[in-house]
Amino acid sequence: MSEKAFVLTGVEKQLGDFRLKIDDLSMDRGFVLGLVGRNGAGKTTTIRILLNLIYPDRGRVSVLGLSMPRDESTIKRRIGYVSENPSFYEDMTVAWTIGLVSRYYPAWDQELSQHYLRKFDLDPRKRVKQLSKGMRVKLALTLALSHRPELLLLDEPTSGVDPVIRRELLEEIADMIKDERHAVVFSSHITQDVEQVADYVAIIDDGRVREYADKERLLDRWCRVTGRTPANGRDISPLFRSLRTQGDSFSGITDRYSPEWERRLEETGVSGHRVHRLGLDEILLSLSGKEI
């Protein structure tokens, strides 16, 4: 069994004006990857490439140790996918929808699908058009999980969904990973969700991966540091990505915080400095060139 949940190598795709370029992105099984980025940054495109819904111009795609597109049908049976705005036959019932999808999967477990219907409070007799957005996502998740996939791909699962359902969705993501052979990739612009359940974070901006790291290490590195500038007028800006000063106070952002970095800062003669971790949303803003 391959250790890797997926591997993208040298992947490029041109879509109109937009160009996606991922040199190297992969993750081991047993973890959750959160894809973060602005709308239009390339998160959905990346997920679609993993599913072969979009075929890259260049590069290699491997999922669960198998090759896309050569092993596409085998891969598809072992993964579950929830798209951003899941579409269904609106006039049909939940039960009918499950019946339809179940036929595509040899590993479909009907009892499991019923378990999810109960758990998610989905009435099988309801027509899809009667379901709220959150219920639609839960139906899509039921369809994705009932054939016991090894990899779960979710595109903006918690967007536009009420807090109760959002919580249910995050619980399913966390639950999936109890089995260390499983993996989850989800994209979200709700950075708080990614901060909470993701093991790894990939920040995608303008078609490129700007940061990819273990979440805790990423959050360790990106900090806001405040304090008083050195009395001898020494320039501390080389230590920072961005720096603001007013009088003798400074506030700066660094993406390289570490105990050694802090020693170098102290050596410059700053005083009263305090270090705060940045949130993922602030990191995204800083990478987008916004002042924070």
Binding site: F31, R167, A174, D199, Y200, D214, E216
Partner: protein
């Protein structure tokens, strides 16, 4: 083991886990030899990531509070009285350091800070022995 994570708390989630487990062990709420959940189980229970719980357990292990035996699980360590004292003091030390740093920033002098400390110890009824 009841751990509560607070997203609005500025402390990192792994730190909150470390602090709460340490507090419970030092207070005797969790006995030495108790088995802790696996990092995966804890992550699922707390609705957080495996990386986070792994980091928390690593720090707790480095502090000598827990020990992971591969294939067997993670257990709370037996603490000697002196290591228990050392760990309790370490916890208080962090808080005192913050106060001293704040005092330094504000230009408060030593005698004033000592007096403040004495007053507070009196108010909280700290033992003199």
């Amino acid at each position: 083991m009841l751990i509560v994570l607070d997203n609005s708390n500025p402390a990192p989630l792994y730190q909150q886990i470390v602090d709460q487990v340490r507090a419970k062990v030092l207070a005797g709420e969790i006995q030495p030899g108790t088995q802790l959940p696996s990092i995966r189980q804890l992550a699922a229970d707390l609705l957080t990531s495996v990386i986070t719980t792994k980091r928390a357990y690593q720090e707790l292990e480095a502090a000598g509070l827990i020990q992971t035996r591969p294939g067997r699980g993670t257990y709370v360590c037996e603490l000697t009285e002196s290591s228990r004292q050392r760990l309790k003091l370490a916890e208080v030390e962090d808080h005192i350091r913050e106060a001293v740093q704040a005092a330094a920033r504000l230009g408060i002098r030593r005698p004033q800070l000592v007096e403040l400390l004495e007053r507070m110890m009196e108010a909280e009824g700290l033992d003199d022995e």
